[in-house]
Amino acid sequence: MDLDVTNLIDSLEEVATLLSGWKLSTTQWSLLDGPAIKLHDHSFDASPWRDHLNIYVVEHALPWKTAELEQTVPPLGSRELTELLAASRRDIHLHLVPAFRYYKAGFERKIVYLPSGRSITAATLRGCSQMWSYKSVEVVDKPNDFAEEIERIVAERLVRLRAALAVAREPDILQRLALLERGYQELSDRKTTQARATFRQAAGQSWISEVS
């Protein structure tokens, strides 16, 4: 089932309040993926994304130390964890991704003003395509981390890429999404070397120089 924009905006009001309580400024976190695209283009079909909100944060700004690269949660017993769980009980599930590396490489995002007057940043379709390409390179560059998940990742991402391709108009976005789709097909066919080259081409020079 697709996301309801009104519900999404209500949820984002709560997220903005929560994160500002953790002293994160608007520029230190951003909404990504289907819900972010939906925020810019209400007609976008965000159904391939599950019910949680992917929030990419500059991890250094969080009030706790992070060790993971894919997801972080506040420590047991912390006020932040209690608040996160309270939001979860109100059906607002946050996936907090430590994302400083992605911010350094760069992805397009725009400020969105919420009805309350608060502002948040949400990645555009271009920004999401940039992020997906960075994450795709990571998947092939860290085979030990993702080995057991490749099949699921490929299936999930192909569905999402096709949803994005359906609304993409600008040539650079179309080209990046097409490259990613090809890369996942190659990964599915176990042509890892080719997939890596394809993903790196999609990620572009900013990511390559960031990781090398």
């Binding site: 972080t72 979860s88 996936h95 981390d145 057991e148």
Partner: protein, 207 residues
């Protein structure tokens, strides 16, 4: 030494290594007592150990603590019977232990640590127990399962790798987690006593 006794002893000895790491054997007993080669163990050394009693008026000499073999200074025949009795006791314990640990399921070591507790096999979030959870066993856990993971002391999933939601959340919270344990949902029922070893990726069904 009769052939029947010899065979019995041989088969018992073969089983001994399985028991050595788990329960006090002759070797660990000797070590605990601080016995040295050449020293004597008598009835009182074994008192309260739960082992068969040493035949009256006999003492056992420790010839080699490395092998923990106990030999009697005299009366070889009766002491041999005692040895068989002791080894049979250890073997019974060993077999019982093996029976208990035969259901070892393997997955991916996703978050280090060890936990022993009752399993809560949960197929959907609405079926989550309200009380605290020892070992949460789920097919897969997304972000929506955060509260359940926080409540649990350890987590086991049927699907997922070391970068799955359950794995990363558990590592962040410092809870043991094993992911990708094939068919765990069908092999385990709620209430079963299990050991979760997030360092080795083993889930042992105790009973």
């Amino acid at each position: 030494m009769g052939l029947r006794h010899r065979r019995c002893l041989d088969s018992c000895i073969r089983l001994l290594p399985n028991a050595e790491h788990q329960i006090p054997t002759q070797r660990t007993f000797v070590k605990q007592q601080g016995a040295r080669p050449g020293s004597n163990l008598d009835q009182s050394d074994w008192a309260g150990s739960g082992r068969p009693a040493i035949p009256p008026r006999r003492s056992l000499k420790v010839e080699d603590t490395a092998n923990a073999e106990l030999r009697c200074c005299e009366g070889a025949a009766s002491v041999f019977c005692f040895e068989v009795e002791v080894i049979a006791f250890v073997t019974r314990r060993s077999l019982a232990l093996l029976a208990m640990t035969q259901s070892v399921l393997r997955g991916l070591p996703a978050s280090p640590g060890k936990c022993v507790g009752r399993a809560s096999v949960v197929s959907r979030l609405t079926a989550l127990p309200t009380e605290s959870i020892d070992v949460l066993v789920v097919k897969t856990a997304s972000v929506e399962w955060l509260e359940a993971i926080v409540k649990a002391r350890a987590v086991v999933t049927e699907i997922g790798g070391i970068t799955s939601h359950a794995a990363t959340i558990c590592r962040e919270l410092g809870k043991p987690c094993v992911t990708g344990v094939e068919n765990i949902m069908s092999q385990l029922t709620s209430g079963a006593l299990v050991t979760v070893d997030g360092t080795t990726g083993e889930v042992t069904i105790l009973r």
